[in-house]
Amino acid sequence: MRTDDKTEGQPVNRPKIMVVDDDSDLRQALSLRLRANNFVTVNACDGYSAIAMAQKEKPHLIILDLGLPAGDGFAVLKNLRQYPSLAEIPVIVLTARDPETNEKRTLETGAVAFFQKPVDNEELLGVIRASLQAGWGWGGALPSNPS
C-alpha cells in the first residue's frame, strides 16, 4: 500500500481510480461522482494514454470504455496484462455496447465486471468497493459512503 499518493491537491491515502472514456463530459461526470465518494481520480481519453497513464499513476482500479481511439478497450485489457505491475489492477468495463456480444468476451479478457451504459451509480460504486476489497489493488480501509 502506498501512502504518498498526491494528485493535484486531492487528498492522500485513498484508492485511486482511473476513468478511461473518449467522451470528456462523461469522464468529468464520473470523476465528480467518484471524488464525491472519496476516491482519487485520474483520466485517460484513449487506449494509448490509458496504458501510459496507468504506468505513471498506478491506479488501484480502472473504469474502461470499449469504444476508444488509439487501441480499443479489449486492446487495453490485453496490454495491461503485459505489465506485471499493472496486470493485477481490477478493470470494470463500462460501455454503450451490448452485453450479448461483449460481456463474455470482456470478462474472458480479464475484466472483473461489465456494465452497459447508462449505469446505476450505486450498483457501480458497489462493484468498485467489492473489487477493491477483494484485495488486488487496495489494502487499506475503504472510504465510506458520504450519504
Binding site: D25, A29, R33, A36, P90, A96, R97, D98, K104
Partner: protein
C-alpha cells in the same frame, strides 16, 4: 430465359406414364438426364445422394399419397423446384400444392414436349428468384439488426451523459437545490429512464423477430421471484397509492425458467397494471397450480383498472400496440413490452393471455413449465425401454475463495458448467439444470448411468478439466463427490416410467438433504410421484 433443367428426378410409379414423360423430355432440344424412381422412399434416398435441378412428382405413389408426398420431398430438398404430375381428377390437390410452394403442375395426358420444356424452364427460373428473394430478405433482416444495434449504441452515449449529470445534480453533488428544481430534475430523470427502457425494448423486439432471443432455464422457486418483483415495483405502486400484493399458493413447485427473463415478464406486467390502474386501486400477483394442467405453474397479474374493451383484446400482444385511451402520465412507451413478454414466455414453452372487461380491470396470465426431474431423466437413464443398470449421482461443488465479485464468479461458474457438460456422455449422463439458490456457492449435479466402480473415470475427468480451469484455480475450490442411487428390486413389476419416477424421487431427496438450508425442493413433485405409484 435461363437454362432448362439438366438433371431431372422423375418420381412416377406407373411405367407407362414414366416412359411417356421421359420421351417428352428427351424430345425437347436441350440435353437432359432423367433419373426415374417408382417410390417416395427411393426418391428420398436419391435426394440424399445428389441434388437434381428439378423434381417431377406424381402425388399418388405406392408408399405415399396426396399432400404428404410433396411435403416430404420439399422438406428433404427445400431448394429444388418441384413440378407435379397430376391426373385430371386431382387438379384441386395440385393447385393446393402450388399454394404450398410447389412450382407448377402438369395434367397427365395433356403434356407436349414443348409445353413440358417451358414449364420446367420456368419452374427452375422461379425457384432461383425465390431463393434470391430469401437471401435478400435475410440480408435486410441482418442489416436491420445491425442498424438498430448501432443506433442503440449511439443513443446510449448521450443518454448516459444526461443521466450522469442529472443524478449529480439530484444527489446534491453540485450544491443544494430548491424544491422546484429538485422536482423538475426528477421529471428529467424519469424521462431519461423511459427513454432507456425504450431503447432496450427496441433491441429486444428485434432479437425476438430474428429468433435471437435466448432463455437459459434453471430450476427456480417462482414464489421468491414474485416477491422480488413485487418488492422492486412497490415504490412505483406507492407513488400512485396503489396496493400491490402477492398471493402465493404455498405448494407451488419449482419451475424450469430463466430467472432474469421470468422477472422481466413479471415486472413488465406489474408495471403495466400499475400504469392502467387509478390511484387507490389494487394490483395482485398470483401463482397457483391448476388441477387440469399438472405440467405448468399459472401466474397472473390482476388490476382494478378500467379494463380493456373487447375489440382491443386480440391486439394487445401485437407489436407497437398502444392503448388509444392512454391519459397523461401514462406515457405509452413503444408498445413492445407485452409482445416481448409473450415471446419470452413462448420460449419457455408457456403461453400468455389476457382476460378483461371494460370497467372491471384486467388479468394477464401466463404459464411456466414446472420442473420435472423425471421428464429430464427419462431419455437418459433408460435404454430400449428398460432402466439402465447402475445409476450414480455426482455432486460438483464450487466454493469461492473470498467474498468474490459478482460478475466474474458467476462467469467462472458458468464456464465450469460448460466444461462439465463436456465431461459426460450425452446419451446416458445428464447435468441437471443448475439450482437458483441466490448463494455464491454453486453446486452442479450429474446423474450418470454407470456403476460406482466405473464412475471414477468421470470424476477424474471433472477434477482435471473443471479443476484445471485457471479462473477457478484463482478464485475458488472444487469438490467432487459420488453417491450410488439404489437400483430397482430384482422382481419389479413397475413400468419403466414408474421406475424413472422412483429414481427421480431418490435423486431429489439426496439433493434436498444436501442443500436443505439453501433451497426447499420440489415437494409437489414428490407428492405426485407417490400418487402415481
Amino acid at each position: 430465359m435461363g437454362n432448362a433443367p439438366a438433371h431431372v428426378l422423375l418420381i412416377e410409379d406407373n411405367p407407362g406414364d414414366a416412359d411417356l414423360v421421359r420421351l417428352r423430355l428427351v424430345e425437347g432440344k436441350s440435353e437432359v438426364h432423367v433419373n426415374c424412381v417408382p417410390r417416395l422412399s427411393d426418391a428420398l434416398a436419391c435426394l440424399e445422394l445428389e441434388t437434381p435441378s428439378l423434381v417431377l412428382l406424381d402425388l399418388n405413389l405406392p408408399d405415399s399419397h396426396g399432400a404428404d408426398t410433396f411435403r416430404q420431398i420439399m422438406q428433404k430438398a427445400p431448394n429444388v423446384p418441384v413440378v407435379i404430375l397430376s391426373g385430371q381428377d386431382d387438379e384441386a390437390l395440385a393447385m393446393k400444392a402450388v399454394h404450398l410452394g410447389v412450382q407448377d403442375y402438369l395434367i397427365k395426358g395433356e403434356i407436349t414436349s414443348k409445353h413440358l420444356e417451358r414449364a420446367l424452364r420456368y419452374a427452375v427460373e422461379r425457384q432461383g428468384l425465390l431463393r434470391s428473394l430469401e437471401t435478400l430478405r435475410k440480408q435486410q433482416l441482418e442489416f436491420k439488426n445491425q442498424f438498430l444495434s448501432h443506433v442503440s449504441h449511439e443513443l446510449r452515449t448521450p443518454l448516459t451523459c444526461i443521466h450522469q449529470y442529472v443524478t449529480l445534480l439530484l444527489d446534491g453533488l453540485a450544491g443544494p437545490l430548491l424544491p422546484d428544481q429538485l422536482d423538475y430534475l426528477k421529471t428529467v430523470l424519469k424521462s431519461v429512464n423511459q427513454l432507456h427502457a425504450m431503447i432496450r425494448d427496441l433491441l429486444e423486439a428485434t432479437r425476438a423477430d430474428s429468433g435471437k432471443l435466448r432463455v437459459e432455464p434453471r430450476c427456480i422457486a417462482i414464489g421468491e421471484l414474485i416477491q422480488q418483483a413485487v418488492a422492486m415495483m412497490r415504490p412505483t405502486a406507492a407513488e400512485k397509492r396503489i396496493g400491490l400484493e402477492a398471493v402465493l399458493d404455498p405448494s407451488i413447485p419449482l419451475v424450469y425458467a430463466d430467472p432474469d427473463r421470468a422477472l422481466e415478464v413479471l415486472i413488465n406486467l406489474i408495471d403495466n397494471a400499475i400504469k392502467f390502474t387509478p390511484a387507490e386501486g389494487s394490483v395482485t400477483v398470483k401463482a397457483s397450480m391448476v388441477e387440469t394442467d399438472p405440467s405448468a405453474v399459472y401466474l397472473s397479474v390482476s388490476d382494478s383498472g378500467r379494463g380493456i374493451p373487447a375489440e382491443s383484446l386480440p391486439q394487445v400482444f401485437e407489436r407497437l400496440y398502444q392503448d388509444p385511451e392512454a391519459v397523461d402520465g401514462n406515457r405509452a412507451g413503444l408498445g413492445l413490452g407485452l409482445y416481448i413478454a409473450k415471446e419470452i414466455v413462448a420460449l419457455h414453452g408457456g403461453r400468455m393471455w389476457v382476460a378483461s372487461e371494460a370497467g372491471s380491470g384486467s388479468t394477464f396470465s401466463f404459464t411456466l413449465p414446472f420442473y420435472s426431474l423425471a421428464k429430464l431423466l427419462l431419455p437418459v437413464i433408460t435404454h430400449k425401454g428398460r432402466l439402465r443398470e447402475g445409476i450414480v449421482l455426482v455432486r460438483v461443488e464450487l466454493t469461492p475463495l473470498s467474498k468474490a465479485l459478482r460478475g466474474s464468479w458467476k462467469e467462472t461458474c458458468q464456464k465450469c458448467l460448460e466444461i462439465l457438460r463436456k465431461c459426460i456422455y450425452l446419451d446416458k449422463d445428464l447435468v441437471l439444470p443448475p439450482l437458483e439458490t441466490g448463494n455464491a456457492e454453486e453446486t452442479f449435479f450429474v446423474v450418470a448411468s454407470t456403476d460406482i466402480g466405473h464412475v471414477n473415470i468421470m470424476v477424474d475427468r471433472i477434477r482435471n478439466q473443471v479443476g484445471g480451469l485457471p479462473k477457478l484455480k484463482a478464485s475458488g475450490t472444487l469438490k467432487v463427490t459420488v453417491e450410488a442411487i439404489p437400483g430397482p428390486p430384482a422382481a419389479d413389476s413397475r413400468t419403466v416410467e414408474q421406475q424413472v419416477w422412483g429414481v427421480a424421487d431418490c435423486v431429489t431427496e439426496i439433493i434436498q438433504q444436501g442443500i436443505a438450508s439453501k433451497q426447499h425442493l420440489n415437494k409437489k413433485e414428490k407428492h405426485q410421484n407417490a400418487h402415481r405409484r
